[in-house]
């Protein structure tokens, strides 16, 4: 029996997308002096809106506004008051959540069920969580009065535009910094709606400045002499460049970079649960997740049977219109990203891995890719080493737990890993042995503002969320200096 789904589209009108958006500097939306950029709806490939971008002079104005706000208002305001502003923002995000979800889906291409159930509520929760810290910094174990750093320059990616904005802005503001933040050029809309929320919350002008543009704007921002803290989420290549450029400046940096997460399936795992977890690990947000479980390590004894189960389940995923509430896998964020993914897939085929893709039909327009699995990958292949950042899984096998650990840790990255086993001691033992910042036992891709997140090795340094995420925005250098 074949089940058909009727379309269940969310209403596009809820987003109320404007024809033009402007950067938000010093409390006002004002035309930038850079070149206009169109933002595209990846679900259709059509233009969604036009964005006014900033030039170097506008960036300078934003940094100066942030400095003034830091010195005159934000750093001297009692923590409890700062917290109340953040609580306001959290509430307003929740109030405008349906609108934000639609805006995000239209601009990013991710399924509406993800923006509705994850991105937007998690963003609100991030503000709510950090709001509560603002008057409790002396409880962090970082001294009686931990001090903010000043102006934070923040650059965020396109995969979770609103949520990454929340991850960056909420902790920075909670501890008393002001921010200048640049969204990705392909996904500027949700943060500009957040800017409206921030303006409506009467946040003092200059505390949050949102500047628009491409990589050159981000580069100018992080190198601006008026910045005290840099937080970047994106590729390891760019993170490495930022670290190199800031060498010798003493500027505190947080880097949240790439990953090649291993998802390890033991023969005693609950297989149906594991299948769901692997799918969540690699097809959530079309696999465009830095901590995606993109390497599947299966114990040899169950490998064939398990891969079959996995394929059967992937076959049932609905790929298509991100605005449809039944869609499981939406659009790839951009044409450029789609070609990066397919180039790496071609490399996998050329190196001899076997490619299997779901037979689901894809929409004619927009940027889509069938969920894909490389079986019989080997650790030396590019698809097993490099971050694909798409719905593509590389599958390998192992025999012993030691071999699984060795293979999983054999990567310059160390952001995430998953372990699937019904044996509690093995799960905890593996969690200790894996060199990654986040370990999921019998689950994958769980996030919470109370649980810190960040990488080992070349996946970056510094944490976001939890007490250690606050430390990243405070002056934590408590070493005595010579008189």
């Amino acid at each position: 029996m074949k089940w058909e789904y009727s379309p269940a589209p969310e209403s596009r009108a809820i987003a109320d997308i404007k024809d033009r958006y402007m950067p938000f500097i010093d409390g006002t939306f004002k035309e930038g002096s850079g070149e206009d950029r169109d933002t595209i709806n990846p679900g259709t490939g059509e233009r969604l809106s036009t964005i006014s971008t900033v030039n170097a002079e506008n960036i300078d104005r934003a940094v100066k506004a942030a400095r003034r706000a830091y010195q005159n208002v934000w750093s001297t305001m009692p923590g409890a008051e700062r917290g109340k502003y953040l609580f306001r923002i959290a509430r307003a995000i929740a109030e405008r959540s349906r609108e934000l979800a639609v805006v995000e889906t239209l601009d990013n291409g991710k399924p509406i069920k993800e923006t509705r159930d994850f991105d937007v509520p998690a963003a609100a929760q991030h503000f709510f969580y950090h709001a509560g810290w603002a008057d409790k910094l002396h409880h962090l174990g970082l001294g009686p009065a931990p001090q903010p750093l000043g102006v934070a320059g923040q650059v965020i990616p396109w995969n979770f535009p609103l949520l990454m904005a929340a991850w960056k802005i909420a902790p920075a503001l909670a501890v008393g910094n002001t921010v200048v933040i640049k969204p990705a050029e392909t996904t500027p809309l949700s943060i500009l709606v957040l800017a409206e929320i921030i303006a409506d919350a009467d946040l003092p002008p200059g505390v949050v400045n949102i500047i628009t543009g491409a990589g050159d704007v981000g580069s100018t921002l992080v190198n601006h002499p008026g910045i005290d803290k840099v937080a970047f989420t994106g590729s390891t290549a760019v993170g490495r460049r930022i670290q190199r450029e800031l060498a010798g400046t003493g500027r505190k940096i947080t880097l949240e970079l790439g990953g090649k997460g291993a998802n390890i399936i033991f023969e005693d795992a609950a297989q149906d649960q594991a299948v769901e977890g692997i799918i969540n690990g690699i097809f959530f947000n079309q696999g465009q997740v830095c901590c995606a479980g993109s390497r599947l390590l299966i114990q040899e004894s169950i490998a064939d049977e398990f891969v079959e189960r996995l394929k059967q389940r992937v076959e049932t995923l609905r790929v298509g219109d991100p605005m449809d509430k039944n869609t499981d896998v939406g659009a790839i964020n951009s044409e450029a990203q789609l070609s990066r993914i397919t180039a790496l897939m071609d490399a996998g085929i050329a190196e001899g891995a076997e490619l299997w893709s779901s037979s689901c039909p894809l929409p004619k327009n927009g940027f889509y890719l069938s969920p894909s699995i490389f079986t019989s990958a080997t650790p030396s292949m590019r698809i097993a080493r490099e971050e694909i950042f798409g719905p593509v899984l590389a599958t390998m096998t192992f025999r012993t737990p030691d071999e699984a650990v060795t293979k999983a840790n054999n990567s310059p990255y160390g952001l995430s890993a998953g372990v699937w086993t019904e044996k509690g001691s093995r799960a905890m033992g593996m969690a200790a042995a894996l060199r990654a910042g986040v370990i999921w036992d019998n689950t994958f891709n769980r996030f919470d503002p109370a649980a810190s997140f960040g990488g080992y090795k070349e996946s970056g340094f510094g944490r976001e969320g939890g007490p250690s995420g606050l430390a990243a925005y405070l002056d934590t250098d408590d070493e005595a200096v010579a008189p």
């Binding site: 670290q243 910042g437 090795k457």
Partner: protein
């Protein structure tokens, strides 16, 4: 007949052994008056790479040791230093020309510094970790783990206390290290290596090289199997280029803001600089069986 002194040959300290430099090179350590003090090994790039290999090997044993055990080993270092206290005072007085009183205070502070860190090993997770009250049915915790192999440029001008103050926090967290000793005080650094060698520190956990900082440091900063750098002993000119090299493999870099006062009580910045916070999620099921909380 008077006793003709038997002078010590100062060598490198790599993987728990005291080899000469593979290059066969030495340089002359001078005392405070500029007179010949001893020949010290002039470590080469190859020695440095050997030391990194040893540190990686040592990492397995040291990072897996229990926190209690690591604390005992570091305490043992304090014991060893205490019983060779007068020898270190004498050596430092010759090397630096400081008064015996000042030097004694420095050696005592170094002993106390080791005791301080010995007590830290089994407190780090409680102080820096957390049980995370996540809003879903999971038990989630965050706890510190060692960063890995740390390259250390030991500070100049504080041959023992400075050295101990940079090495101790690194190993307290379970890291292993490759230390480039202060160029002008190789004898004190290698004498300290003898303390390490007799304190049950696993081979390779602490490796000490003597030689030219400008020759060795760039290779240490660029080494792909080094996870972090402590640039306390780097000159201002060297610091920027080392940080640039470190960026290629996204190393964590600790640079003190100003010249540290090693005589003051240490904070936690040096401990935190070489720890990674790992978060683990474990399902608890949708229903709590006991009616209690899973955090």
């Amino acid at each position: 007949m008077t006793h003709l002194a038997v002078s010590k040959t100062y060598k490198l300290f790599i993987g728990g052994a005291f080899p000469r430099s593979e290059s066969g090179r030495t340089y002359q350590a001078r005392d405070s008056k500029g007179d010949f003090m001893a020949n010290a090994a002039l470590a080469s790039r190859k020695d440095l790479r050997d030391a990194v290999v040893a540190a990686r090997k040592g990492y397995a044993a040291w990072s897996r040791a229990t926190a209690y055990n690591r604390g005992q080993v570091i305490y043992r270092m304090a014991e060893m230093l205490e019983c060779r206290r007068s020898e270190f005072v004498e050596l430092i007085v010759i090397s630096t020309g400081a008064s015996s009183k000042v030097t004694t205070a420095e050696v005592d502070a170094a002993i106390d510094r080791l005791v301080h860190y010995a007590g830290w090993t089994d407190k780090l997770a409680a102080v820096l970790g957390s049980a995370n009250p996540v809003s879903s049915p999971y038990f989630s915790y965050s706890a510190p783990e060692p960063t890995g192999v740390v390259g250390i440029l030991a500070p100049t001008g504080s041959p023992l206390l400075g050295l101990v103050s940079v090495v101790a926090p690194v190993i307290t967290g379970g890291n292993t290290c490759v230390v480039i000793a202060a160029e002008e005080d190789p004898c004190v650094a290698i004498a300290f290596a003898e303390i390490v060698a007799t304190s049950d520190v696993p081979a390779g956990a602490i490796n000490i090289l003597t030689g030219r900082v400008t020759e060795l440091a760039p290779h240490l900063a660029a080494h792909s199997d080094v996870n972090a750098l402590d640039l306390t002993g780097a000159s201002a000119e060297l610091q920027e280029s080392l940080e640039q090299a470190a960026a290629e493999t996204v190393k964590r870099v600790y640079v003190p803001k100003r010249v540290p006062d090693f005589s003051a009580a240490p904070g936690t910045a040096r401990l935190r600089a070489f720890l990674e916070i790992k978060t683990v999620w474990h399902p608890t099921g949708a229903l709590s069986l006991s009616g209690g909380t899973a955090y």
